[in-house]
Amino acid sequence: MGFLDINNATKSYGSVKVLHETDISVEEGEFLVLVGPSGCGKSTLLNMIAGLEEVTSGDISIKGRSMNGVRPADRNIAMVFQSYALYPNMNVAKNIAFGLEMHGVAKDERDKAVAEVADLLQMRHLLDRKPSQLSGGQRQRVAMGRALVRNPDVFLFDEPLSNLDAKLRVDMRTEIKKLHQKLGTTIVYVTHDQIEALTLSTRIAVMFGGHVQQLGTPKEIYDNPANIFVAGFMGSPSMNLFPAKVQVENGAAAARIDLADGATVSLPFAPGNTMSGYDTQEIILGIRPEAITDEDGADRKSQAIHRIETRVEVTEPAGSDIFVVSHLGGKEVTGRFRADVDVSPGDVFPFAVNMDKAVAFDPKTEMRIG
């Protein structure tokens, strides 16, 4: 039993089920990120925790107390909205104090709490301003202040950074993470940005089509995706997924892959793999770009580096790396080379594939098989 428990919760609008049976247990002090594309049910789930949406069936409890039918105000939660949702007619101090006022906190106590939060977020000088006089980042800060001042059990963030420009977003991301480390609060955070999910969270729930596809630590999600959706959604550039055929020789399994020129190449799976039971089966092989490199850039600790020579189609220099696009198994494949490698489109170039990091999926069920 956790701090925040989501037990078998579902949500339907009429006959449309937007959230299927969901079980997540969040420990105190955890930073859970709900991530997925639009319409995956992540915001609905957050609103259900907040009490803004009713649970159709199942149960959500905070600190062991069932929250079904409890008003949002009585759940001891605070929420930061995507649009900041600052009250336009009140200045910053009143915005922050509004929740306390509604909960009957005395004026001098409110002022003290507002001052503390303003110090914590370094926005004392903004207290007298109206929201319309603030920049996007400052508004975001006020919205967080409004949540912090209530000292709630659970913080809920609904895509709080998506209205900010790229640079500010990265700064605020770091700030939120620092704040979490400093205060040790329990946070549920919704985003569609998988980088935000990976950098901020202690655990991630990847959602799609109203289902939690996988729940795990960022490393688990990144290294061991449970299915093709998770593999493709998390990571940027996304994981290379291409068809291959399992071939077992002398008890050792390998993946046979068609090259662009009609030849095939055989890549043995890493030692300790469980692929030998799938002899002659078609699979989808998943390899992240950083596991397809130039030979000198390959991971030296890996025992399963294999070399493929194939034609380079496009190179995309990205400063610290060059992304090199080629074809494997009939699909476009991106590799990540060191920036100083001399490679240009049209070259036939040796690629080093780290099969330690390769994952395989069943093409029919799209689930992980090895």
Partner: protein, 293 residues
């Protein structure tokens, strides 16, 4: 060539602008002429009007017609002037406008932020209410007012205008609140504010422009209404419009045109004043719902 072409554009632009201004000035004069005639003739003695020359400025300026219209002219059977009826109108308009605006705001708030099953039907019916011709409800309304015991009184007139006003005020506020971010309401809910607290502290303070539009609209309509005033009032509860009619229609003695003109301007002044004071919000408010931003 290029500079020539751009100079050409400017020239035709200025030319067409002159035409536009000329037409607008013409229309302006056309609309202002009656007001001029009224103002000028309300400030001259009756003899000057009877001598013809309606367009001429008074040769002898006087405010006697105004004084007469206000306090001594014959209205129906009493020589009270328009004063008591002006007061009746104020007593009718202020509560009717205030209540219908507040109720409209409340309706708009519920219809956009606390939606319930069948809310579109409720809104549709309210909207339908806006377009029922006044004449259709005269007899049922008379019966209702009688049953409620407020027939022939100022509260009775307030009630009638309230019923008709709510449709429009709801329409205004609903469309305005539709653009109002729902996240603000949700944030306030999480902060612990209840239904009326959110309305009072979050919605109302942001409703200035649409409230002005609503007030102007209701004020003008209710103040200028003649049909309900004539149908549902008694001698002591008649509004200004009905009294003005009685002043002008009085069939005994000479027609005091100068007094009639003064009375008519008096009847029109409050709405004019409301437009002048709040007019700039009117356009702004009407645009508020239509443009995102």
């Amino acid at each position: 060539m290029a500079s020539n072409a751009s100079a050409n554009v400017v020239r035709t632009g200025a030319g067409s602008r002159y035409v536009i201004y000329a037409i607008l000035t013409l229309f302006c004069l056309y609309y202002l002429l009656p007001l001029y005639v009224m103002a000028v003739n309300s400030l001259k003695p009756l003899s000057e009007i009877q001598a013809g020359g309606m367009m001429a400025l008074p040769s002898q300026w006087t405010i006697a017609p105004w004084q007469s219209a206000w306090s001594t002219a014959q209205i129906g059977v009493d020589a009270t002037g328009l004063r008591p009826y002006f007061l009746n109108s104020i007593l009718m308009v202020v509560p009717a406008v205030a209540i219908s605006t507040v109720l409209g705001a409340l309706n708009g708030y519920v219809l956009t932020k606390w939606r319930f099953r069948g809310d579109t039907i409720v809104f549709g019916l309210l909207l339908f209410g806006c377009f029922i011709p006044f004449q259709m409800v005269l007899i049922p309304m008379a019966r209702m007012l009688g049953l409620m015991g407020i027939a022939g009184t100022v509260p009775g007139l307030i009630f009638v205008h309230l019923v008709y006003g709510i449709g429009f005020s709801t329409l205004y506020f609903r469309n305005y609140y539709q653009q109002f971010p729902t996240e603000l309401v949700r944030a306030a809910m999480i902060d612990g504010a209840g239904f009326f607290m959110i309305f009072r502290r979050i919605m109302l303070p942001s409703s200035g422009p649409i409230a002005v539009v609503c007030i102007i609209w209701q004020f003008t309509n209710i103040w200028n209404d003649f049909l309900f005033g004539a149908s549902f009032s008694d001698f002591d509860s008649q509004p200004m419009t009905v009294a003005l009619n009685n002043l002008v229609q009085s069939s005994t003695g000479v027609k005091e045109y100068n007094v009639h003109f003064a009375g008519a301007i008096m009847a029109a002044l409050p709405t004019l004043l409301v437009y002048i004071v709040a007019g700039r919000y009117f356009v702004r408010g009407l645009m508020a719902g239509s443009v995102k931003g």
